[in-house]
């Protein structure tokens, strides 16, 4: 990781807000350049940054013009700050090539989370091998290991684990799992899903030698299940 080298360009005219954004980025391990007026960044400027945070309401060159100029010169992700409840501006910004927007007022964490999400794309793991904590899944070979010990899984259990692992840390809806993992002809039904999950938890616990309660598969109230992103 070269997190310390990664630099974000912040174009924000408000002194207090700019300071907070820069401080927030630095706490998150990102360096920041801060411009307090609207001007067109050069290609050199853009080459040094991994992301641009752009306020649309600026003195000097208007935010949308800066956005258009950035897009004509570079593919660097642009996150727009918009104080307006104005759809036209947001839609226009997205049309001009903005990658995302955050509407003021926002929480510092919200902005940082959005920056992180943008920098770690793509989030969906789609390779043959998926690793989550102590869990390793080889989709191609259809093998799964937990803590180095191979898991004996049925087809449905394997698909279930794979689906959760590909979205590790995020909940996956029961309806989605029913539709995409279970064979709808043979075993549709919410109860069946619970049974598969319960068996899978038991097998994971056996493999790691832990209790089934500390399973990496969590039940998410109202939604479904989630595979914890880090090992417990």
């Amino acid at each position: 990781m070269v997190a310390a080298m990664r630099c974000v360009l912040v174009i924000e005219d408000d002194l207090a807000l700019g300071q907070q954004v820069v401080a927030g980025l630095e706490r998150a391990g990102l360096a920041a350049h801060w411009w307090r007026t609207g001007r067109i960044p050069s290609e050199d400027d853009l080459a040094q940054v991994v992301l641009v945070i752009l306020d649309l309401m600026l003195p000097g060159v208007a935010g949308l013009d800066i956005l258009a100029a950035i897009r004509s010169a570079s593919d660097v992700p642009v996150l727009v700050l918009s104080a307006r409840q104005d759809s036209v501006d947001k839609v226009r910004a997205l049309e001009l090539g903005a990658d995302d927007y955050v509407t003021k007022p926002f929480w510092p964490d919200e902005l940082i989370e959005r920056v992180r999400a943008r920098l770690r794309r793509p989030t969906l793991q789609r390779s043959d091998r998926v690793c989550v904590g102590a869990l390793t899944i080889d989709e191609h070979a259809r093998r799964a290991e937990h803590g180095g010990r191979a898991l004996e899984l049925t087809r449905v259990e394997f698909e279930l684990l794979l689906a959760l692992a590909c979205r590790a840390g995020r909940p996956v809806a029961r309806s989605w799992l029913l539709e995409h993992v279970l064979d709808p002809e043979r075993e549709a039904g919410s109860r069946t899903l619970d049974v598969h999950v319960s068996r899978l938890r038991k097998k994971l616990a056996e493999a790691s030698g832990g209790a089934a309660e500390s399973s990496p598969i969590e039940t998410v109230w109202g939604i479904g299940y989630r595979l914890r992103a880090e090992a417990p």
Partner: protein
């Protein structure tokens, strides 16, 4: 239709009057004719008297009169019936004799018997004797010639058409102009009033002036309303940045922990609430008079933004907020700001009205073949049936949600309703499974292909 009905009534009345005049005139004419005839008979200047009829006492008499009156010329033939009133036995013989007498210019005397009949006294050849003939005047002929009946009707109709037609046409063109104006977009110039100098023109101009006054007042109100709306939008815009800064300071202060931690937590909750209210206020102003944009957008990205926006505050409230949108963009058509605000309100409500720590709020986006369903589920206090109905009206909220610290202005759900209506979505609010908590659902149609804007994370 009413005006036309009245015109028909007037036409009929005029026709009746005309017909009456004609009938009376005809009668008078007939009376004069019979009087003239009798006078001619008495004067013995009638000629060509011809009598037919097989009845013993009645004969049909056809008489040629010399040109009557100063303006007519030539001869006139007059038909009349006579009744003979000699005694029955002598009449049979007397009849041809009587006729011969008439033809020969017998001496006659005539007197009116009643309105319809005249009595002729005819001197017979025998000295000192005479006989009587009663003459029925031709005015009592049963039928009037048809032109005399239809004529007045036609004349009356023509008179009404010529007299009132233009008036009806003007009234009709006025109402047509008003109706056309109604169909035009707002702000179209008022239709020109009728320029006539009569009462109709006067009425039309009076209404035009009244309409102009209403229009002016309406325009003035619109300008004021627009100014107010802009003011609300500008205020919410100007407050957005300082509120963001305030949140930043609060979040930073909360990191320190210490004695003030609880106070800071409450302050963060309030700061979050103020942000939601600000959004609702700005959107409400926009909903009143603005035109929403109609573009394709990714609903799953919007929902993700909404949930991420509320994560901080869910954490501060000790609630779990989880969401699932699926992996792929979900394209719908509408106004992304409106949609986000509606979702904001639903998620914000679920969090704010939750009454216990370690409670749950789940946000789920599911796909049906041609529809999406967004469900916001919580295990909070929920609402009873009566509250479920009441809470959806603007400016109201459930009893359990009352209290400044938890409520809003009640704008929240009414905005959801209106955004749903604007997009053609259905919005339902019901109790959760086994009566626990509340389930808010938005369901609407999907757009088929890629969004206008790039999918966002």
């Amino acid at each position: 239709v009413r005006l036309r009905g009245r015109l028909a009534l007037i036409t009929v009345a005029i026709a009746l009057v005309l017909a009456g005049v004609v009938v009376l005139g005809y009668r008078e004419l007939s009376r004069r004719t019979s009087d003239e005839l009798i006078a001619a008979l008495v004067r013995s200047d009638a000629s060509g008297v011809n009598c037919v009829g097989a009845q013993p006492r009645a004969r049909h008499l056809s008489v040629v009169l010399p040109a009557g009156g100063p303006r007519s010329s030539g001869e006139r033939r007059v038909e009349l019936d006579i009744e003979l009133h000699a005694d029955a036995t002598s009449l049979r013989e007397q009849a041809p004799q009587l006729l011969a007498l008439l033809e020969g210019g017998a001496s006659l005397a005539a007197r009116p018997l009643d309105a319809a009949r005249r009595e002729l006294v005819i001197a017979l050849p025998e000295p000192g004797s005479c006989t009587l003939a009663r003459v029925r005047a031709p005015s009592l002929r049963p039928s009037l010639p048809p032109p005399l009946v239809i004529g007045p009707l036609v004349v009356a109709l023509l008179a009404v058409l010529i007299g009132l037609g233009p008036l009806v046409r003007r009234a009709r063109s006025l109402s047509l102009a008003v109706r056309r104006w109604q169909q035009q977009p707002e702000g179209a110039p008022l239709p020109e009033p009728d320029q006539g100098r009569d009462e109709l023109g006067e009425l039309s101009r009076a209404y035009h002036a009244a309409a102009q006054t209403v229009r002016d007042q309406h325009d003035e109100l619109r300008v004021r309303e627009q100014a107010l709306r802009e003011f609300v939008e500008n205020v919410s815009h100007d407050l957005a940045t300082p509120l963001t800064v305030l949140r930043g300071h609060l979040a930073l202060a909360a990191l320190g922990g210490g004695e003030q931690a609880e106070a800071l937590r409450l302050a963060m909750v309030e700061a979050h609430h103020v942000g939601d209210l600000l959004g609702s206020l700005a959107l409400s102003a926009k909903l009143e008079g603005g035109t929403p944009s109609d573009a394709r957008f990714d609903l799953s990205a919007a929902l993700r933004r909404v949930c991420e926006r509320h994560h901080v505050i869910a954490r501060e409230l000790g609630l779990s907020l989880e969401h699932f949108e699926g992996d792929d963009p979900l394209v719908v058509r509408g106004d992304v700001t409106f949609a986000e605000q509606a979702l904001d309100n639903l998620v914000g409500n679920a969090l704010r009205h939750h009454d216990r720590r370690a409670g749950h709020v789940a946000v789920l986006l599911e796909r049906e073949p041609a529809h999406f369903v967004v469900s916001i589920i919580d295990d909070g206090p929920g609402l009873d049936d009566e509250e479920l109905v009441r809470v959806r009206r603007r400016g109201e909220r459930g009893d359990r949600a009352r209290g400044r610290s938890r409520g809003g202005m009640g704008l929240g759900l009414s905005i959801v309703e209106r955004v749903a209506a604007l997009h053609g979505w259905t919005f339902t609010l019901q109790r959760g499974e086994r009566g626990v908590g509340l389930v808010a659902r938005l369901r609407g149609p999907l757009e088929s292909s890629e969004p206008d804007q790039p999918a966002t994370m």
